[in-house]
């Protein structure tokens, strides 16, 4: 049992019911992504512009694959949380629930496929 009044439990939570949790999550992931992205965009761009062999060679470099894996994971979490706010702004009821579940699942699926691909590229060498 928690010795808190209902008022005390609600304080600081606001209309979202979760306080500033989402705001702070977006800020922390934004700073992380801001550090990673310049490097990731250029190395990924170079890989896409290369032929198969050279793209593989670029992507198996840990200096490329580790930041890329990090950016993919953090980026997809940032995306899921951001897209969720958009869904909450424009939809309600069952549509809202369904879309949030879909976007969350999809972002995890994309993360999993991307990390799998990077692992295969790194381990096959």
């Amino acid at each position: 049992m928690r010795y808190l009044t209902a008022r005390k439990r609600a304080e600081g939570k606001g209309a979202s019911g979760s306080g500033t949790e989402h705001f702070w999550f977006m800020q922390t992931t934004a700073v992380g992504l801001a550090i990673l992205m310049p490097w990731v965009v250029v190395s990924l761009g170079r890989a896409i512009r290369s032929d198969y062999g050279n793209a593989w060679y670029i992507l198996m470099n840990p200096w490329v694959s580790i930041p890329l894996a990090l950016a993919l994971f953090v980026g997809m979490r940032h995306f899921a949380a951001g897209a969720r706010v958009m869904i909450e702004d424009y939809t309600r009821g069952t549509w809202r629930k369904g879309l949030i579940i879909t976007v969350t699942s999809l972002s995890y699926l994309i993360t999993a496929i991307g990390l799998y691909a990077l692992a295969v590229i790194t381990l096959k060498g």
């Binding site: 965009v41 512009r49 991307g114 590229i121």
Partner: protein, 127 residues
């Protein structure tokens, strides 16, 4: 409540009544680019996965990315990323209670638009 007579309620004016403003435009563009980058990620991860499959799967993904539609998606994605990047930094500045006066907010808006185009050019030059 449900047996009360329903009268049409007056609607308060919304977006359509305001003159389009730079700050409103740059704000909604942040949301559009952010969500569009989710689609960009799907394309990139598809290509990455195709790399591991090799052969015809890779040929198909790589062919698509080098058609003009694919190139357009990639270049727009790079621009969208830099725009979202700069707009995100602008939000971090706003959130620290700086740059909230109209003149500075508009300057930061232009900085996002012009800066994103310049960074897109720089990225294409570097890759």
């Amino acid at each position: 409540m449900s047996d009360m007579p329903r009268h049409p309620r007056p609607l308060s004016p919304h977006l359509q009544i305001y003159r389009p403003q730079l700050t409103a435009f740059t704000s909604i563009l942040t949301r559009i680019t952010g969500n569009a980058l989710g689609v960009s990620t799907i394309v990139i991860v598809w290509w990455l996965y195709a790399m591991t499959r090799g052969g015809a799967d890779y040929e198909r993904a790589n062919w698509f990315l080098h058609t003009w539609v694919g190139e357009a998606i990639l270049i727009l994605s790079v621009w969208g990323l830099w725009y979202h990047y700069l707009a995100g930094i602008r939000h971090l500045i706003f959130d620290s209670l700086h740059g909230l006066d109209i003149a500075t907010a508009q300057k930061l808006g232009w900085a996002c638009i012009i800066g994103s185009v310049l960074l897109t050019g720089l990225t294409i030059y570097l890759i």
